[in-house]
């Protein structure tokens, strides 16, 4: 299969079930919305080293936010159900509560699974806090030096999917970057999806474990590192000199499928040789995004479908997990060790 001369490999991205919350952050002006959202989602690229993955889903107009102010929706992912409220309380307390003029609302109000995040944050008010109930939802008014911080009492939690991905195999670093930028731009603002890495792009895909260091749960994906082509079992086709990866977390399988379709199509530009994806051979993650099915038939290639032939990486004997799900380790593996230096997650 080719799109504008770019080969779409017959492989799939393997992703994991995560827990997700959607937050709506508002503020007096877009400037302060952005400041709060960037701090909130900062250092949240991978659960391996950051304990959570987060990103801005999209900007919200004044007619879309509960209080009629500018806002953004943020998606927030953790592997475990219990981790999510802990991370939210930590991050909201340090980044949104502290940011001038902000307020924070639940973006999954229909979810029956609730986390009492605002209820935990309210105690910063030291007994001076007060609540208001509106439309059956409770909000806490926490007095602060600037005035008041308003936060919803509970936030919805639901199952999501973490680790959708595709890799752009290009003739040069410039071509890979241009394609990645085009893909990210095309996917920007799509409902239900975030790209948790810097600018939505990963340059340091990782494989599980290490060939040399016992303590490392993820190390560089040498099969896709062009500088190692001559000294390792490379998975790179001839003429490929740079690889960049796009990682996607989404509220459900379909959201990621839709975004991957748009992103891959946009990435098929001059200088790109192929598009592939990262997986564990289909043994670890229940969600498989088959590239050719996604590009041929939107929404197809659902979870639980039998694994297709192994990706180039696995076939080359170097099972890689460039970043999906738990970042190179099975989701049950707790984050440990110095992971940030090598692994993308």
């Amino acid at each position: 299969m080719e799109i504008r001369g770019v080969a779409i490999e017959d492989t799939f991205a393997e992703a994991f079930t995560m827990r997700v919350a959607r937050l709506v952050i508002t503020a007096r002006s877009p400037r302060w919305v952005r400041e709060a959202a960037l701090k909130l989602t900062g250092f949240a690229t991978s659960v391996i080293g950051c304990k959570c993955e987060a990103g801005i889903e999209r900007e919200l107009g004044e007619d879309e936010t509960p209080d009629g102010r500018p806002g953004v929706s943020v998606l927030f992912f953790t592997m475990g159900s219990d981790d999510l409220p802990k991370r939210l309380v930590e991050r909201l307390g340090q980044t949104v509560l502290t940011c001038p003029t902000t307020a924070c609302f639940d973006g999954l109000p229909d979810s029956p699974d609730r986390m009492t995040v605002g209820r935990s944050l309210r105690v910063f008010g030291d007994g001076f806090q007060a609540s208001k109930v509106l439309g059956g939802r409770r909000y806490w008014r926490v007095p602060v030096m600037e005035g008041e911080f308003l936060v919803e009492e509970s936030f919805g939690r639901q199952k999501g999917v973490g680790g959708g991905n595709f890799l752009i195999l290009a003739e040069s670093a410039d071509a890979a970057l241009a394609a990645a930028e085009a893909a990210v731009d095309a996917m920007a603002g799509m409902d239900g999806v975030i790209l948790p890495f810097p600018g939505g792009v990963v340059r340091s895909g990782s494989k599980v474990g290490s060939k040399r260091y016992k303590g490392m749960i993820a190390t560089t994906n040498d099969a896709f590192a062009p500088t190692l082509r001559a000294v390792t079992a490379s998975a790179l086709p001839e003429g490929v000199n740079s690889v960049l990866e796009i990682v996607l977390d989404g509220v459900d399988f379909d959201a990621i499928s839709r975004a991957m379709r748009v992103g891959i199509d946009a990435a098929c530009v001059g200088g790109v040789r192929a598009i592939t994806a990262g997986n564990y051979g289909g043994k670890l993650g229940p969600h498989h995004f088959h590239l050719r099915r996604i590009m041929g038939d939107e929404g197809a290639g659902g979870a639980g479908s039998p694994p297709r032939p192994q990706s180039a990486t696995a076939a080359a004997g170097a099972p890689h997990r460039s970043d999906a799900g738990s970042g190179g380790a099975p989701p049950a593996t707790p984050p440990a060790g110095p992971t940030g230096a090598a692994g993308s997650r």
Binding site: P66, D67, R69, A130, K132, G135, Y139, L150
Partner: protein, 273 residues
């Protein structure tokens, strides 16, 4: 089963009728004949609902009341679910003790509308009498939940003794608005009479057209209350209330009180810019 039950007043009333039986959740399980047989009080006389209203439809949780029923009291009392739509004005005690559902009155309502209401929504397109959302006689707590939106003016003691919930008055409110509030929110877009928020423990009184602040309230600051932007935006969207942008984005003087009571209440007075 019908789409709706329609009660049409047979003729003008020369006496009061207590029709507490009119509640959509009750009608949902009754046939037309059973609805017509429901008991009402006509003055001091027992009567049947069918004596005053023609009943069309059955077993529906949507109820429409047609005709001038300003002398019909207690419509929707203690209703728990469904929709009750009154095309004209309604009498006293409309929606009193409501626990759920939506009650819309296109005209005015009498006294004690939404008194001791615990849930649901009461919308009045006209005016309301005294003791809107207040306590029933002899009781210490008024409304404990739900939302009341009156587009016109309200009489004395609107929101008095409210424990929880939202009360909105689009016009003026008489004396004693928000008196002895225990908690909850009262928003008045028109002028306020004397004694507003006096003796309140907690709760919020929002005054859009000025207020005579009781001496037992103390000025705190001038700011933009974030919960008010949320509430006013909510009123615009859910009730199509014509809230001005200046009210949503403007600044308010905050007074804390009543310091002769618990002192955790507040008056928020909008400042015209």
């Amino acid at each position: 089963m019908s789409d709706a039950v329609v009660l049409t007043l047979r003729g003008p009333l020369d006496h009061d009728v207590d029709a507490a039986c009119v509640a959509p959740d009750r009608f949902a399980a009754l046939g037309a004949r059973e609805i017509a047989e429901l008991p009402v009080w006509a003055g001091r006389t027992r009567a049947r609902l069918g004596d005053f209203f023609a009943v069309e439809g059955e077993r529906a949780s949507r109820v429409r009341v047609r005709g001038d029923v300003a002398r019909v009291h207690a419509l929707g009392r203690a209703m728990r679910a469904g929709e009750l739509d009154v095309e004209g004005s309604a009498g006293d005690g409309t929606g009193a003790g409501m626990e759920g559902g939506t009650l819309v009155v296109h005209g005015d309502v009498g006294h004690d509308a939404g008194a001791a209401m615990a849930g649901g929504v009461l919308c009045v397109n006209g005016r309301a009498g005294d003791n809107l959302a207040g306590a029933r006689a002899g009781e210490s707590r008024g409304m404990t939940g739900g939302e009341i939106v009156v587009r016109g003016a309200a009489g004395r003691d609107a929101g008095a003794l409210v424990r929880r919930g939202l009360v909105v008055v689009g016009g003026a409110a008489g004396a004693g608005a928000g008196r002895a509030m225990i908690a909850g929110t009262l928003i008045v877009f028109g002028t306020l009479g004397a004694g507003a928020a006096a003796w309140s423990k907690r709760g919020t009184l929002v005054a859009m057209c000025g207020v005579s602040v009781p001496p037992t309230f103390r000025y705190a600051c001038t700011y933009r209350p974030p919960h008010l932007a949320l509430t006013l935006t909510y009123l615009r969207r859910h009730y199509a209330l014509a809230v001005e942008d200046d009210h949503v984005t403007g600044e308010y003087r905050r007074y804390s009180g009543d310091l002769a009571e618990l002192g955790r209440g507040e008056i928020l007075e909008w400042i015209e810019s």
